[in-house]
Structures are given as structure tokens and as C-alpha cells.
Amino acid sequence: MSKPSLELKGASFTLSVLHINSSDLTAVMAELDSKLAQAPQFFLGAPLVINLSAIQHNDFNLHGLKELLISRQLVIVGITGATTVLSKQAKDLGLAIVKAGKQSTTPPPAPRQTKIVKQNIRSGQQVYAKNGDLIIFGAVGNGAEVIADGSIHIYGALRGKAMAGAAGDPTAVIIAHSLEAELVSIAGQYWLAENLQQHSSDKSGCIRLNGESLMVESLPL
């Protein structure tokens, strides 16, 4: 089958946005010229979106602005943030009306941080490793709780509760030198002590999620 002669695909581009804060074009152009003088090559033929959200009155000389920008070899792609009347004018001038995408407010996910605890976790104590793995050099006592969004490694006996993948990560594991836990849980699937005893004969082991249920793997120690 031959390739179609055209395809329509969505893509996003980064464009410079020129915010116009004043309707005094002479002042605007004076400031723009001084900016352009700093890096003339950079702005040569640069596609620009004009943001008019600061201009609230309708007698703004959009046509004049367009001419002035073109005369400085800037390519106007469209306008945004304009009032309805100005948007209409822009359409008549052959400019596209673009809607500004929402500024992404969520920061990129923080890198996983491993939390290392070099002591025994005593009854009644709780340790939570947010966004990462938890490593414990010591034992986790009866009545203690260790929780991690990632995996949990215990270089000692696990006698209390361990909850890995607390934020829902199904690939998290719990590894303990001695599995005597009250409860183990991965991404919400849990076993009580008796389930654990049924499934494990070894003292040490790795608990992971196999589909919907937990399983114990022995460690190659």
C-alpha cells in the first residue's frame, strides 16, 4: 500500500511569546529594538506568539503592531489572550488565535531516594521511605512498621509489619534476612503471619507480587 500523500499529526512546539503590556506602540517598539539589538541573529525570522492579555481596551492598533513586527523580520504565528474584539481583528488580519496551554504546575517526579536506617526498629516505631526504597541494617521488632513506596530490604529479622510499594508500585519487593513477619504487603496485597508460614519454609526470602497474589522466593545465600 502506498504512503498517503499527507498525514495529520499533532505535535507541540516551543514558541516565544511576546507579552505586550502597553498600547503605546512607540514605547513598545523602542524596548523591543533594544532587546533585538542584544541578539539580532536569534530573533531573525523567529516565530512569535503575541500575548495581549494585558490589553483590555479595544482601540489597540493591532494592525500597526503587526506591520512593525514584520518590518523587523519577526514571524507572527498567532495571538493569544486578546479580548473578543481584538481576536476578531486578528482573524481579519489573518492571524491565528492560539490558546495558551496550561502552565504545567506539577514538578517532574522527584528522583527515587533510598532511605537507610542503621538500627533496630523497635515495637511501636514506624519508618516510611517516601518515593523510594528502604534499607534497614537491623531487625524490625514485633509491633513495628516499615513502609516504603519502593522496595524494603531488611538485613536482620522482620518480626513486625512491612509494606512495600505503598504508593501502588507492583514491582516492589520485600527482602528480609529472617521472615517472621506479622504482616507483609506489596501494593496493597497482603499476607498475615499464617499465610507467610504456609508459603515459606526458608528463614530468609524475597516477597514479590506475582500477578494478583504474593509469592516468596528463596534467596541465593
Binding site: 533496630n120 511501636g124 514485633n142 509491633g143 513495628a144
Partner: protein, 269 residues
């Protein structure tokens, strides 16, 4: 600088007060100037065990509130001149203990004494927290049974997180295990946890093992710290414990059943 030692356990009835009295008396008998403070406000017992209940005029809470000075409240032991008792108040409750008040009293005592023994109440509330807050050394008194071990584990967590040393990021409290009411024959028959079991779960240094003994109750009832009774196993075991606390290396006794074999009987052991 005085060493502040808290005798604590979480669980009640495991022998904190008996141990506090015995260890304080033992330290004083070794020539160390020692004061033992009853933190069990409202359920005062230490004075009974120490045999000084008839001489209590002012108490710990009076001193904290500034109603009496330390010298008025401290009771000098009749048997040992280096030993003093600061009794608890029987009419107040644990909220009378404030961090500032307790800290001030301990600071004053520290100028005069070599060892300050704090006899903690049971539980993990205000009284117990105040008893352990200023400690340098903790003697965690534990019976060889699961509930006591778990409560001790809880208290160890508190020592590591709620004490002054933890809050100020100083060197952590030195934690010792004191296993009391130990009965080797019941361990053998599987009714009781063994020393090794408890050591493995709590993972702290063993300071001493006190065997279950008739002499403890007898001593308590007559108001004589059991360590005075050097005929009894418990008294000897407390003496060993005090020696270890002072840095001596003493082997642990009374943890195996006392059935002497023929050879042992001849050569002694």
C-alpha cells in the same frame, strides 16, 4: 559528672523497683554516692522496698514545686551512708512531673552524687517519659515472657527517639538488658524464653540475669533491698549486675539448672 541511670520496662510488675533498690544499694555499698528517685508519683513503692516509708516527710514533687529543698526531701539510708532515697508523692499524679522541674532537680543532684537511679513507673506516659528523658544509661528490666519482651522493645524505641540525648543528637543512651524472674527449669521445659531468645529479640547488651527467688518477696516485705541478702541467688546475681555496671567482667550465673553432678559436688563450682 553524675551518671543518670533509668530502670525501666514498659510493663508493670517485672521488678523495676526491686531492681532499682538493689542496684542503688549495691552501688552505694561499693562506695559510690548514690541517690535513687521514685518516679512513680501516686503509686509510691520504692520507700517500702527500701524500708524508709516511715521517714518520708517531703517528696520529689515538693522539691519540684519549690515547697521543700533537696536536703529536706532526701532520706539517708540507715544501712549504707552513701545511699539516699528521694521518695515519690502519693497524693499527686504524674502530671506533677515537668521537664523543667525534673531537669532542675537532677542538675542539683548531679553536683553531689555519682549515680542517680531513676525508678520508672510502668507504661509509656508522662511519668515513664520523665524518668527516661534525662538518662545516660538505661537498664531495661524484662521478664522472660513475650509480653514483657515486646513492651521492653517499645521502651527501647522510646529511649532512641524521645530522650534528651536523642532530641539533642548526643551519643545515644547506653542500653542494658536486665532479665529478672528467670527460672532455668521452666526455660528447659519450654515455658519461658531463654536468655538467648530475649537477647536475640531485643539485641542489647546483657547486664544481668536475676533468678526467680523466694528471697525477693521476703526482702520486699521486710523493707530490705534483696542485694543485702548475700545468701540468696537473687542477691548474688544483683551483686554481679552492679559489678558489671561498674565495668567488671563477671560471668553470668544462675542461668542453668542447679543439678550438681557427682564431680561438681566433689570439686565445687
Amino acid at each position: 559528672m553524675a551518671q543518670i541511670i533509668v530502670v525501666t520496662s514498659g510493663k508493670g510488675g517485672v521488678g523495676k523497683t526491686t531492681s532499682s533498690a538493689a542496684i542503688a544499694t549495691g552501688l552505694a555499698m561499693q562506695g559510690r554516692k548514690t541517690v535513687v528517685i521514685d518516679f512513680d508519683i501516686g503509686l509510691r513503692n520504692l520507700d517500702l522496698i527500701m524500708g524508709c516509708e516511715r521517714r518520708v516527710v517531703y517528696d520529689f514533687v515538693n522539691v519540684i514545686n519549690g515547697e521543700a529543698n533537696l536536703n529536706q526531701a532526701l532520706i539517708k539510708d540507715k544501712r549504707c551512708e552513701k545511699l539516699f532515697v528521694l521518695p515519690a508523692s502519693q497524693t499527686r499524679d504524674k502530671d506533677a512531673l515537668t521537664k523543667e522541674g525534673v531537669g532542675r532537680v537532677l542538675d542539683d543532684l548531679a553536683k553531689d552524687f555519682e549515680f542517680i537511679i531513676c525508678d520508672s513507673p510502668a507504661g509509656i506516659e508522662q511519668g515513664a517519659m520523665m524518668a527516661l528523658y534525662f538518662a545516660d544509661i538505661a537498664i531495661v528490666t524484662t521478664n522472660p515472657e513475650v509480653s514483657s519482651v515486646r513492651d521492653s522493645d517499645r521502651i527501647l524505641g522510646m529511649l532512641q527517639s524521645k530522650s534528651r540525648r536523642a532530641e539533642l543528637n548526643l551519643e545515644p543512651i547506653k542500653e542494658y538488658l536486665l532479665l529478672t524472674r528467670y527460672s532455668p527449669s521452666r526455660v528447659k521445659s519450654g515455658e519461658m524464653l531463654s536468655v538467648d531468645d530475649v537477647k536475640e529479640i531485643l539485641a542489647i547488651e546483657l547486664l544481668g540475669v536475676i533468678p526467680e527467688s523466694q528471697s525477693v518477696l521476703k526482702a520486699s516485705n521486710s523493707g530490705v533491698p534483696v542485694i543485702i541478702d548475700q545468701e540468696s541467688d537473687a542477691g548474688l546475681a544483683y551483686s554481679d549486675t552492679v559489678a558489671r555496671l561498674l565495668g567488671e567482667d563477671v560471668p553470668v550465673r544462675f542461668i542453668t539448672e542447679e543439678k550438681k553432678g557427682f564431680l561438681q559436688r566433689i570439686f565445687g563450682s
